[in-house]
């Protein structure tokens, strides 16, 4: 596609920037340099409508002067001095915190599966071809299955972080994602979707198209659910991931916990989930969509247990918030927004892994449910209350389960409850865990929970 931006070259650029900032009068300095390029192919109504490419680079600069922190960014490498002066100037507004950047010298583990040369070499034509296959595969399931939206996106990025305290680390990574949203107008209008993301060129576009069309086919002929009330809900991994992204994920951030915004504030050592539920943040997973050698301020990656056998174990910190509360960074500095150079690092998650004892495959899990729903999607997860974990969400294509079997698809419903209660009532898991990058990358299998109220 395009040439790799050499991590070492970017690192030299970052190191030069640090020297420049020190020369301008910083007591401590840090430079984060990122360069990325991507191609995406958009499918609308069964045809490719657009192929787009984007390349960007930029530098985020942090400085400390007189114990005060400042930040500025620029997309123009020739303006580093100007941006550095801005960052130094902004320190005057900041409080004296005594914060300094992470100290280098820690070894960085190599994490396999994050960089695939086949994706670097991939041509846009190939992504167009995969998009065509996606559409064909959907149509093979049903001639009227139409891929209303979807496509293929792939890209690569190089990041480098250096600071005046000895941190110096760079890496290169690749990723690809393939998705399809299928509308089937047959006896009724039904929809289906599927998407997979990976760090390697190993996604079968046909499988994605087929799965989305299959879901739309199964969604035909929905009827109203006869009776609502509290029942068991089996969540598709992507659906629960979306709900967790707005409830559990913000609750495990140390700063939120310290300020009393988290539902888990003051509950370390307490039972917050069923005894066989374990949740960890693990940036070292081979091939993990949010894996990396270091976090976004150069602290080496390590797994952190958050909930151990149902008991709340701890929270996540970047170096700034850790310093604020007299703790150590957990290696969770994350820079948001695109390739990150426009924002300061904040504490965030990497890959959130949810472990629940497996009952076997999905059918085995369904077999254990006497009365409940199996749901593929949630709508409105962002309206959940992160402080109380109360949620009220909509699902558009629930399947009713009775006596261990799916008996049919139902009209859209509203699901309400409290995720804290539901976590205490986790029944079990089915199928293999998968990566679900909706917001945070949550890794989990199908999971069944009690304590959800269904409104029809």
């Amino acid at each position: 596609m395009t040439d790799i931006v050499d991590p070492q070259a970017l690192l030299s650029q970052a190191e030069d920037a640090v020297l420049r900032l020190m020369g301008l009068g910083a007591d401590c300095a840090e430079a984060y340099v990122a360069s990325s390029s991507s191609v995406s192919v958009d499918v609308e109504k069964d045809v490719v409508t657009y192929t787009t490419s984007d390349s960007e680079e930029g530098v985020g600069l942090r400085v400390v002067r007189d114990g005060r922190l400042g930040f500025a960014y620029t997309s123009d490498p020739s303006k580093i001095t100007e941006a550095g002066r801005n960052a130094l100037d902004l320190t005057r507004l900041a409080p004296i915190t005594g914060y300094i950047f992470p100290v280098g010298g820690e070894p960085y583990a190599e994490i396999p599966g994050l960089d695939d040369p086949a994706l670097v070499a991939m041509e846009p034509e190939e992504a167009v071809e995969m998009s065509g296959e996606l559409v064909e595969a959907a149509r093979e399931v049903h001639p009227d299955a139409s891929v209303a939206g979807g496509g293929v996106g792939f890209g690569q990025g190089t990041i480098a972080v250096a600071n005046s305290e000895g941190v110096s680390v760079a890496s290169h990574g690749t990723s690809i994602s393939v998705g399809a949203y299928v509308v089937l107008r047959d006896a009724t209008v039904s929809t289906g979707f599927e998407s997979f993301s990976s760090r390697a060129k190993d996604i079968d576009a046909r499988a994605v198209g087929r799965a989305a069309a299959q879901m739309a086919l199964e969604g035909q002929g929905a009827k109203a659910l006869e009776k609502g009330g509290e029942m068991t809900v089996i969540f598709r991994p992507t659906a629960l991931a979306e709900l967790l992204d707005h409830t559990l994920v913000p609750s495990v951030i140390g700063d939120a916990a310290q300020r009393g915004e988290s539902a888990f504030t003051g509950r370390e050592g307490q039972q917050v989930a069923a005894p066989d539920v374990t949740v960890l943040d693990d940036p070292t997973i081979p091939g993990g969509l949010s894996s990396g050698r270091s976090d976004d301020e150069g602290v080496s990656s390590r797994p952190n247990i958050l909930i151990d056998g149902g008991v709340l174990d701890g929270f996540l910190y970047d170096s700034f918030t850790a310093n604020q509360y007299g703790l150590q960074s957990t290696g969770n500095a994350v820079r948001g927004g695109g390739s990150g150079w426009k924002t300061q690092p904040e504490a965030g998650v990497s890959n959130i892994v949810v472990q629940v004892p497996s009952r076997g495959n999905l059918d085995d899990l369904i077999a254990e449910v006497d009365r409940g729903l199996l749901i593929h999607d949630v709508m409105g997860a962002h309206t959940a209350n992160m402080s109380t974990l109360d949620f009220s969400i909509n699902t558009t294509m629930p399947f009713e389960v009775r006596k261990g079997e799916i008996v049919g698809v139902r009209d859209p419903l509203m699901l309400g409850g409290n995720l804290g209660d539901a976590l205490q009532k986790v029944l079990g898991a089915g199928g293999r865990p998968r990566q679900c990058p909706s917001g945070a990358n949550v890794v989990l299998p199908w999971i069944a929970m009690d304590g959800v109220t269904v409104t029809i």
Partner: protein, 458 residues
């Protein structure tokens, strides 16, 4: 230089090309519990080049505006358009639009760059101090942002536009804790313009209103679930129109076969009182712009007139394909994104009910105020949104407060279930709309009374 890039795209085989060069200057400040969390001044520029080769699109962008970047982008965009062609459908035809040469810079009445950053920070400190008057406040975050955007748009047909505007925004996010109950409330003030936006609507006064709401929420009970009559306040009715109707009227979704409104122009889909429009020319509104990202002048579009679907929102491509007039609804998040069909300021026209008449005769219902955001599945026509505040309505009176209430419905039923519109129109708080890309929007409307709404509590 930019002209040359367009020329070389045409020489390279494009039948149409456009180029957007964008410069953005941004200042953000964030204060969390008295501490400065963020003070950022950044500058960014980049361009996006779009070409049409044999009826297929290619787009390439980069965030440096240089001769090398331009040359590379021309070659890439042409190659991508040819790649698209392998699996493309019917050739794209762009609807004709006036070839304009124009410069429109919306200069703020009070340039925020002339306000010292210390004074901006001081405003956040005052908002925080006001938030702290809430008896049970646990934590407060205040946020200020100011963005100056300048866009230069050139097309191979001869459009030459320079337009620019400034947007400002403040947010106060308050979380309160009382006897184990945790609730939060957010107030936003913002618009297209400068410091005058805050003189017209004082963020400190808005925070003060938020304090009252937060304390009320902390005493709120759980909402009932089920079907009931709902009254929606103007701050939420705009979001209701945006989610429950607006997205489905975006012609790119209609063309993709995703919208339930496909093929229904001229049909009566709502009660007589329902008139919905989208208008990027409303002075000072957060979603306003002078020209869209294809160089079409922003204009008021009536989407539904007295319950009858009258028009979709269009880009030049969707208008060309559907044989309609382009109406200036093509927007991109930034230089690196291609234009999509988007809303601007989406509003429901006011009706004739007084506040008392609105609630009259409701024996049991729910009153929803403010928004926590919403979502829609336009193919099935199902939408959902959350309210910031909610109250029970008993015998025509607003009674106990409720927390974490959401409303769901289906587009085709809901517009028929509106059985009353208030006579006072209000523009809602500024917002952002996500559709793969995020753009600033605003909504507005009167109070709405809705029969048979599906309401759920946490």
């Amino acid at each position: 230089m930019l002209d040359e890039w367009l020329e070389s795209a045409i020489k390279g085989g494009a039948e149409y090309a456009d180029l957007r060069a964008v410069t953005v200057e941004h200042t953000t400040l964030e204060l969390k519990d008295g501490e400065l969390k963020e003070a950022v001044e950044g500058q960014e520029s980049g361009f996006g080049l779009r070409v049409l080769v044999d009826g297929s699109w290619g787009f390439s962008s980069a965030n440096s505006i240089s001769k090398e970047a331009g040359t590379a982008a021309v070659a890439t965009a042409l190659a991508l358009a040819r790649a698209t062609a392998a699996r493309a459908g019917e050739a794209v035809t762009l609807a004709e639009v006036p070839v304009v040469e124009d410069t429109v810079i919306w200069v703020p009445r009070k340039e925020p760059k002339d306000v010292a950053i210390e004074d901006k920070l001081e405003m956040l400190r005052e908002m925080e101090a006001m938030a702290r008057t809430a008896e049970h406040l646990a934590t407060v975050t205040t946020f200020y942002s100011e963005g100056h955007r300048r866009i230069e748009l050139l097309t191979s047909e001869g459009i030459r536009l320079v337009h620019g505007l400034t947007r400002v925004l403040t947010v106060a996010n308050m979380t309160g804790r009382k006897e184990g109950v945790v609730s939060s409330f957010r107030s936003r003030v913002g618009g297209v313009g400068g410091w005058e936006v805050f003189e017209n609507k004082d963020p400190v006064a808005e925070t003060e209103r938020g304090v009252v709401s937060l304390e009320t929420l902390l005493d709120a009970g759980r909402a009932p679930s089920g079907r009931m009559t709902a009254v929606i306040d103007p701050d939420l009715s705009g979001v209701f129109v945006h989610e429950a109707f607006g997205h489905a009227s975006e012609a790119d979704l209609v063309m993709a076969g995703e919208s339930i409104l496909e093929g229904r122009i001229g049909e009566k889909l709502g009660v007589d009182d329902v008139t919905i429009f989208d208008d990027p020319t409303m002075p000072g509104a957060f979603g306003s712009f002078p020209y869209d990202d294809e160089g079409v002048k922003g204009a008021r579009k009536v989407l539904m007139q007295n319950g009858v679907l009258t028009s979709f929102l269009h880009s030049r491509e969707t208008a060309g394909r559907m044989g309609d007039e382009p109406n200036g609804a093509a927007r991109s998040q930034d230089y690196g994104s291609r234009p999509l069909v988007r809303m601007s300021n989406t509003c429901l026209e006011a009706g004739d009910l007084s506040q008392e008449e609105m609630f009259e005769g409701i024996s049991e219902g729910i009153y929803l105020k403010g928004t926590r955001g919403g979502q829609v599945d336009v193919a099935k026509g199902t939408f959902q949104f959350g309210a910031q505040e909610a109250f029970l309505i008993e015998n025509g009176q607003i009674t106990s407060p409720l927390r974490d209430v959401a409303l769901m419905g289906t587009i085709l039923e809901t517009l028929h279930n509106i059985d009353g519109l208030g006579k006072e129109f209000m523009l809602a708080s500024p917002g952002f709309c996500g559709k793969g890309q995020t753009v600033p929007v605003c909504d507005g409307g009167p109070h709405i009374r809705l029969r048979d709404a599906v309401v759920g509590g946490g």
